[in-house]
């Protein structure tokens, strides 16, 4: 029964990682950059929904929609101002800029909302008790898992079926060729950032519902872990990010329950290292042979 409880909490934590990782992997797939600011967009999403719900007294659903809208705008602005001018720059320059954006968001949040942690009210309250109360599953975890599955399916359909999705895949293969085929590369990349950031807002709301403290640094560690999850599943692959996220969450939860709370992150990272040694492109990643 204990095992089931850990498993359930792991799956719901993993679903949050998966939603963040989906955003990461889409941006990576198309822009070929590690967007370190992604974790901080999550934090912004959390704060916006917190303010909309607690200060303005708006209903939960509306506050989530507002958070998504704000984060979408934020994603487009960040891409346009900071990343677009560096499209042809070396990848390290883009990485450092992303780190700069991450510092910028964290410190802006610190100035606007202060360093004190805010107590976030979960979007859904209550728990479902099974087996005479031996196993309790919070409704938040159920919503999280459901949201994650819906998002994953929607994204897969979007990238495989729609025109825009095809344009995205084309840009991710070869930007120059895509442009020659009449695809608006800049618009496609902006759209990818918009989708990724909207997902980050959802992830922010769910993350804060899962562990209800909200600080300017709330997003960094989940951001890093979600990136790990994306690499774990094979970066650039949507089912890979989903699988990686869930696995990472379950491993973390089980490690925390059975081995050591202090070393749970280490165990997660150790598993990642072992997986990458056996499958250097991640679980579902394609191993591209390098040509001379």
């Amino acid at each position: 029964m204990k095992f089931l409880a850990y498993l359930v909490s792991g799956i719901s934590l993993g679903s949050i990682y998966a939603i963040i990782a989906l955003g990461y992997t889409m941006v990576y797939g198309i822009a070929k950059m590690m967007n370190f600011a992604h974790g901080d967009v999550i934090m912004v999403g959390g704060y916006i929904s917190f303010i909309a719900a607690n200060y303005w007294g708006l209903p939960t659903v509306v506050s989530i929609v507002i958070a998504m809208l704000v984060c979408t705008m934020l994603g487009i602005v960040i891409e346009g101002l900071a990343y677009r001018p560096l499209r042809s720059a070396p990848s390290l320059a883009v990485l450092i800029t992303a780190i700069g954006v991450s510092y910028f968001l964290q410190n802006s949040a610190l100035l606007i909302w202060g360093a004190n942690p805010k107590a976030y009210t979960p979007v859904v309250s209550g728990t479902l008790r099974l087996f005479q109360g031996q196993l309790s599953i919070s409704y938040v975890s159920m919503v999280t898992v459901a949201a994650c599955i819906i998002i994953m399916i929607a994204l897969t359909l979007f990238t495989s079926r729609t025109r825009m999705g095809k344009a995205m895949r084309a840009c991710s293969e070869d930007k120059g060729a895509a442009q020659l085929m009449g695809i608006n590369v800049n618009f496609t990349i902006s759209l990818t950032f918009a989708i990724g950031s909207a997902l980050a807002a959802v992830a922010g709301v769910l993350l804060c519902s899962f562990s209800p403290t909200l600080m300017p640094t709330t997003g960094s560690m989940p951001g890093i872990k979600a990136f790990t999850a994306a690499v774990f599943g094979g970066i650039g692959s949507i089912p890979g990010a989903f699988l990686g996220g869930i696995l990472l969450g379950v491993i973390e939860s089980l490690a925390r329950g059975y081995i050591s709370t202090q070393l749970s992150n280490s165990i997660v990272f150790a598993v990642l290292i072992i997986i990458l040694l056996v499958r250097p492109a991640g679980l579902l990643g394609k191993n591209v042979q390098e040509k001379v």
């Binding site: 800029t97 780190i99 510092y103 690499v231 040694l277």
Partner: protein, 363 residues
């Protein structure tokens, strides 16, 4: 190629010479200022950390700039050096009363252990490429940090006592130290009550040693092999350069220097927690390296000094300083990578692109 070779060789050694001279000059000027009392407490408190971060930046430049592999876990090796250095120094405190000798031994021990960890980490890491390699170094950095957080170490007349606190329930009392023993590392609290023996002169000497090691490595046959791997892995392999060996040489050298810097850093503070050496510290050093220019040693030194002092200089702006730092970082990246400005810079630069591309091929 003959005359060009000699010219580039001359240019390289001239720039190395300027690097050495610049560091020595800076040391003399700062020491004079310090002796005249022109530096206040907080300013002179920055000197040792700056030296440590210079060593960190130069050694990371060896991995990122010269070997061409992005490492996001450099602070992990610094923490290995820091804590082994602290343990060494605190254990030897009765046997070797002389602080400079103890500091030297601690730095060597720190470098030694960091290089062993670097070698072990390097075996899996150096088989990977690009972003995968980066994420694995990040993972190792976090693992090292958490492992050190679990350490409880004490010393008494029977020798070292080490507990690995996996469950999180043990405390320093479980060490069962004898009378007169002292606790050196207290788990998550880190090292407490360390006798601080680091000073600016030691920092300067460490920077000079680092420069001698790194610059000589880069200009040697080994260094050219390492740069050949960076420029084209497949071509380097096909002319018979053993990839693993040379990658390992660069990586282990880099981690050993990080360990030495860590030992000096650790012995500069009486209290130091492992959480100090997290991902953000690795990123901080990476920022120094990238802004200073990849593969450019004196650039790393300059960037470290400027960027380390900048947040302190902005202290007047209080809470806005990190925001300003972030904006400066973004703007610098945007302007230095702007194609229009870049062509302007290369026209002004006395070291044009032509020599740059031939710099690595003299052999």
């Amino acid at each position: 190629m003959g005359p060009v070779n000699r010219k580039t060789l001359f240019k390289d050694s001239r720039s190395d010479l300027f690097t050495y001279l610049g560091v020595i000059l800076a040391f003399i000027v700062i020491t004079m200022l310090k002796n005249r009392g022109a530096l206040n407490r907080s300013q002179s408190g920055l000197l040792v950390p700056i030296c440590c971060y210079i060593v960190m930046a130069v050694s990371l430049n060896l991995t990122v700039g010269i070997l061409g592999d992005l490492s996001l876990g450099h602070a992990g090796f610094m923490s290995v050096g820091a804590f082994t250095g602290i343990i060494t120094s605190m254990s030897l405190i009765d046997i070797i009363p002389s602080a400079p000798i103890r500091l030297t031994i601690a730095i060597f021990v720190g470098a030694f252990f960091a290089s062993i960890v670097g070698f072990l980490v390097g075996i899996p890491v150096l088989r990977l490429k690009g972003d995968y390699l980066a994420i694995v170094t990040l993972a190792f950095g976090e693992i090292l940090k958490e492992l050190i957080t679990c350490l409880i170490v004490g010393f008494d007349s029977k020798g070292l006592h080490i507990i690995f606190n996996v469950s999180g329930s043990k405390t320093a009392n479980d060490l069962n130290l004898l009378e007169g023993g002292r606790v050196i590392i207290k788990g998550a609290q880190g090292a407490t009550g360390t006798k601080t023996i680091a000073n600016f002169t030691a920092g300067f000497i460490l920077v000079m040693i680092t420069l001698v090691i790194v610059l000589n490595l880069i200009r040697s046959r080994h260094g050219r092999a390492i740069m050949a791997i960076r420029d084209n892995r497949i071509a380097a392999e096909s002319v018979g350069i053993p990839l693993t060996k040379f990658k390992m040489i660069a990586f282990v050298t880099s981690t050993a220097l990080a360990g030495a810097a860590g030992a000096l850093f650790g012995l500069n503070y009486s209290n130091l927690a492992a959480a100090k050496f997290d991902f953000n510290t690795s990123i901080l050093v990476l920022v120094f390296v990238v802004l200073g220019g990849l593969g450019n040693i004196w650039g790393s030194i300059l960037a470290t000094v400027v960027l380390y002092i900048l947040p302190e200089a902005l202290r007047g702006f209080a809470s806005y300083r990190m925001l300003i730092y972030a904006i400066v970082l973004i703007l610098v990246m945007l302007t230095t990578n702007n194609p229009v400005l870049k062509s302007l810079f290369s026209r002004w630069s006395f070291r044009g692109n032509k020599q740059e591309s031939e710099g690595g091929s003299n052999g």
